[in-house]
């Protein structure tokens, strides 16, 4: 992510943090500055970015980072590759199937609890969408999350139809 932003222009760690915030808005979980520096030093060690010390008057030196040729190449591959991702809640499914035959819970309880959880999450997303009104990037991301939750809920209904 930091590397992606560096492909636009060289930047300091703090500038990257601000850039991320401006680009993605509040819907996107923001890394803290520590995580950013850790990532930057890891990327630098791998030769994907290069840091240059800049002396500042009256303040400690800071490093400006830019992307290297190798980094650009890797980034191009990243853009080109299809994006895989988790599509089914494996852990919930595991619980649902393994619940049968235990006295610990039953499938309907599991489905009801999961449904409640999804709806409460959805409530949170509605809230977030209200505060992010006007930020199109943020709203798109929230809409993606909303559609995922809707799919989860539809799937829970299917589980209920088949299993209970």
């Amino acid at each position: 992510m930091r590397q992606q932003l560096l492909a636009r222009q060289p930047a300091y760690g703090y500038e990257l943090k601000q850039g991320l915030e401006q680009t993605f808005g509040a819907a996107y979980p923001q890394p803290n500055i520590g995580q950013i520096y850790v990532t930057l030093s890891r990327l630098e060690k791998s030769g994907l970015i290069r840091g240059t010390e800049v002396t500042q008057e009256g303040r400690p030196d800071k490093k400006v980072y830019e992307i290297t040729e190798k980094g650009t190449e890797e980034l191009a591959n990243w853009f080109e590759a299809p994006t895989e991702g988790p599509r089914v809640r494996d852990e919930f499914f595991m619980k649902l199937i393994l619940a049968e035959g235990t006295d610990l819970t039953d499938q309907l309880t599991l489905i009801n609890n999961q449904r409640r959880h999804c709806i409460n999450m959805m409530r949170g997303l509605n809230r977030l969408a209200a505060t992010e009104r006007g930020n199109r990037t943020s709203l798109l991301l929230i809409e993606g999350a909303v559609l995922h939750l809707q799919a989860d809920l539809d799937w829970l209904e299917r589980c209920q139809e088949e299993l209970t």
């Binding site: 819907a27 979980p29 009801n112 409640r116 959805m122 949170g124 977030l128 929230i142 999350a145 809707q150």
Partner: protein
């Protein structure tokens, strides 16, 4: 004075409602024993797979279908035995109802469809016009006031039906999939409008398949196979939730 304060009855109470539909020569049970209470000011979503009995339940609650068995109480008064004329009066006075089909009068404009409902309930024409303007504005349909229902898309017709149901500021709104045919933005408009009426005191029962609509409510009743499978309060996320979490938990950011 001694004794407990008299508690007012729930706005709506259903006891062991049962209703079947005739399909050919076989009776198909749609609602198989539903009991519930809805208090004044509640916003309740009813969800469940198709065929779970959602729409039948809503029709029973609005008196548009009579139960085969069970009781229905409105504001402390038993109403399941009332005749149609009495039901029509009740509905005009207390209810706003939106069904999936919309049921607009095809020979009247959008504006007339809404205003007529208000005027028939005794509202002065001028007030009716103001309310109609306000509602169409809120629903993003101000430019369709003079159109006929035939010129509207499915989603537009649905929103007009919602405006018509709300124009009399009913105590109780029954809505069947009011966001069913809507795009994301119109859904947002409709949900915002419902939330506002709810804040102003309207009790709402919403049948929906849309999780975003369901999560706008305070309480979600999940039907399955004609019975209540779950009845849960929707929890407010803590205020700190969103800045810390964003959409994490739904979308994977790869750590």
């Amino acid at each position: 004075m001694t004794g407990a304060e008299p508690t007012s009855p729930p706005l709506l109470a259903a006891g062991a409602l049962v209703r079947s539909h005739l399909s050919g020569s076989t009776l198909i049970p749609a609602v198989r024993g539903i009991s519930l209470q809805i208090d004044r000011g509640e916003f309740v979503a009813v969800t469940g797979p198709s065929g779970a009995g959602k729409s039948t339940l809503l029709h029973l609650l609005g008196g548009l279908l009579r139960p085969d068995e069970g009781e229905l109480w409105l504001d402390g008064r038993r109403v399941d035995r009332l005749r149609e004329a009495a039901w029509a009066r009740l509905r005009r006075r207390h209810y706003g109802i939106v069904f999936q089909s919309g049921n607009l009068l095809s020979d009247f404009s959008v504006a007339d469809n809404i205003e007529l409902t208000a005027v028939l309930a005794g509202m002065p024409g001028r007030t009716a016009r103001e309310r109609r303007r306000e509602l169409l504005n809120d629903l993003g349909l101000a430019h369709k006031a003079t159109a006929g229902p035939g010129e509207l898309s499915g989603g537009e017709r649905q929103r007009v039906a919602l405006a018509r149901a709300l124009v009399n500021r009913p105590q109780l709104l029954l809505a069947d999939e009011p966001t069913g045919n809507l795009d994301s933005r119109s859904t947002r408009d409709v949900l915002a409008l419902l939330a506002r009426y709810h804040r102003q005191g309207t009790t709402i029962v919403l049948v929906t398949h849309d999780a975003r609509a369901a999560s706008t409510a305070d309480r979600v009743i999940s039907l399955f196979d004609g019975r209540i499978a779950d009845d849960a309060r929707v929890e407010e996320p803590p205020a700190a939730w969103q800045s810390a979490t964003g959409v994490r938990g739904v979308i994977d950011f790869g750590g």
